[in-house]
Amino acid sequence: MFAYIIRRLVYGIVTLFALSLVVFVLIQFSGGSPLDRLRLNPRMQPVIAQLTEQWGLDRPWYEQYFVWLKNFITPIDVAPQEGLTIVMFGKLGIWSWVAVAAFLGAAAYTVGAFFATAKANWWRTFRAFSIIGVWVAAFWIIKSRIVFALNWGTSFRGDGPVWDNIFGAAGNTFRLGLTALAIALIIGIPLGIYQAIRQYSFFDQMGTMLSFITFSTPIFIIGVMLQLILAFYLERWTGVKIFYVVGMTGSGYEELGRGLFGLPSLAQLGDVIQHLTLPALSIAAISMAGYSRFQRASMLEVMHSDYLRTAKAKGLPRRSIIVKHALRNALIPIVTLVSLDIAFMIGGAIITESIFGWPGVGRLYIGAISAIDYPTIMAVVMAIGAGVVLMNIIADILYGVLDPRVRYD
């Protein structure tokens, strides 16, 4: 198992290397220059010369690539100017450190668990949850940016260090993406299961129809419709502003007061939810439709399997046939789907983030592309690539947890 993970990681690094080369070449040969906008202004000539020199734009592309690559993997100092104590209990909050501890513990535990031979059911469940724990902890670490930084360069648009931009935006993107994912999973999976066990019922037909409609509606239509109905008209009818259509928090967010340990207060949480609901719902609607379709299909396949007939012939009540025997088998194919969705979530939701003014990776990315800001473009591409590679490995490990036929030795 351990050897398997290491092997997959090595393959992953090779893949990422190839990805970086291809994308870098594509950017270089797609025409245009990051300095084109400055050229329109005759007084900028000296600046252009200086920036060309500074960013190395006059050198051949392969030289630029290797400079970028070398920097990309070189750590730079993160200076917690206020000192460790302040970092721990002040600016970043105690929870960051709890998260680091949890992450290290969960990571060590996860690796250890795969070498253990215990087969009790609670152990397997616990093991599966520990993987989720690792991810939640990783999210906190990313959000607090406390571990270290790499020299990912400075944005060509004058936004400052790319590393800070990416991880700042990643926190926002994860807030949106994870909420959307949670909604989609909590509604989509049970919906698909219910449709399968009541196949061809009125509910099933309605679910199928709604899923197809939602799945085939472009997200910019869903987003704008939600804004129109749940924000604009709802406010007009009720006279109360329930949902906001732009931004992550209201302008008076900080004045709402902090809660314990520097965590958001209830009022702040409410404000966050008011802003988060609509964009999260737009993304969730489409994934939900997809998940319910996949779940329905895989559940139906299991429902007609021989071992389910065996379970019935044993005299098991219908409930435990579905919950114990059908569900676990039917969840296996969904793992791939969801893990890839999580991987692409790192790249942000370009359209949704644009519609709802959400300062996530997607907006950063689209802005960087239009300005040929290649340090930012490369960083986002590499983040998505790393996400896909990692999530694929995690999906394969999860397969082993759910399905004893797939164990890697």
């Binding site: 071992y307 012939a313 005299g315 088998n329």
Partner: protein, 335 residues
């Protein structure tokens, strides 16, 4: 004779499809005595498995439905039982073994989990007692190191071993009737014999009645007290093994026997087959259902459906001409 363990009367199980109603089982009646070994023989699609599934009430509406009939088991009509009581019968009093052991076990749970699940469901025992029973039953079906394989998953087992597990699962609660639906079809020949002998032995020890469903005449020959031959949804001949094998009265049984390889008779150069294909069960032919494939069909066979009646030879047969034909004297394929 004492009351039979299982009494099936005029069972009709129909399936609705887009083409029409498929009469998979159309008026089947038979009885199984306690401890009896009964074989049900017939080609694919003749309604053998559907009969078994109907007894277990595993036919799923709305696609399939038991239209009429009575299935009395141990004094109760199974078709009238509420679902919750039927769940106690399934696995507890009537156990079933299926055709393909490769897919009949849930791949994500251990053998032990799946065995103990049945035991805990039907017997009032603690978990550790259930474990003990499971291990004992596994040793009964001759699985070596039974205690160790409890933690193994089905994919770590061969087909024959899995079928042993299925038998263990079926017998773990001491059912009165064991329905074995083509238990050896998916296994290779040497394993087949082992599994059949094992089942025979265990059923005898526990005085469990067995309803063996198969298309393999060789399997029933060595195993069953009584045999019934099914064709197109109904029983065409019923009798003891001796009667069926040595003195078939129905042309279909006769044809089936002629298509069998036999080690004791070497005069035949090549095997015969029953010509034609089974009739549509949506629009069965008028008259005898075997009529269109029968070498001896006459006008009456094309007009009236023969009913199962006592023949002169002793067994019951559903053929208009059974008394006039002397099938025993004829070589198959001449007519």
């Amino acid at each position: 004779m004492a009351d039979p363990l299982l009494n099936v009367e005029d069972l009709r199980t129909y399936f609705s499809t887009e083409e029409g109603v498929v009469k998979a089982v159309d008026g089947v009646s038979f009885q199984v005595q306690a401890g009896e070994r009964r074989g049900v023989v017939g080609e694919s699609g003749c309604g053998k498995s559907v009969t078994a599934m109907s007894i277990m009430r595993l036919i799923e509406p709305p696609a399939g439905e038991i239209v009429t009939g009575k299935i009395e088991f141990d004094g109760r009509d199974l078709l009238q039982l509420p679902e919750s009581e039927m769940q106690d019968v399934r696995g507890g009093e009537i156990a079933m073994i299926f055709q393909d052991p490769m897919t009949a076990l849930n791949p994500v749970y251990t053998i032990g989990d799946q065995l103990m699940e049945t035991i805990l469901l039907h017997q009032d025992v603690s978990k550790s007692q259930a474990r003990e029973i499971a291990i004992n039953t596994l040793s009964d079906v001759q699985i070596p190191k039974a205690a160790n394989v409890m933690e193994d998953y089905p994919h770590q087992f061969s087909g024959g071993m899995r079928q042993r597990v299925m038998i263990a699962m079926g017998l773990s609660c001491d059912p009165k009737l064991l329905i074995a639906d083509e238990p050896t079809t998916a296994l290779d020949v040497t394993t087949q014999a082992q599994i059949m002998n094992l089942m025979l032995e265990l059923a005898e020890q526990r005085n469990t009645a067995v309803l063996l469903i198969t298309h393999d005449l060789g399997v029933v020959a060595g195993f069953c007290d009584n045999i019934q031959v099914m064709y197109a949804g109904s029983i065409v001949e019923r009798g003891t093994g001796d009667e069926i094998f040595h003195n078939p009265q129905h042309p279909y049984t006769w044809g089936l026997l002629g298509s069998m390889t036999r080690l004791d008779e070497s005069q035949q150069e090549r095997l015969n087959s029953v010509r034609g294909a089974p009739p549509s069960l949506i629009n069965p032919p008028k008259g005898c259902r075997f009529g269109p494939r029968c070498d001896f069909a006459t006008d009456i066979c094309r007009e009236a459906l023969p009913i199962l009646h006592q023949s002169q030879e002793g067994q019951k047969v559903a053929c208009h001409r059974s008394d006039e034909l002397d099938l025993k004297a004829m070589t198959v394929g001449v007519g």
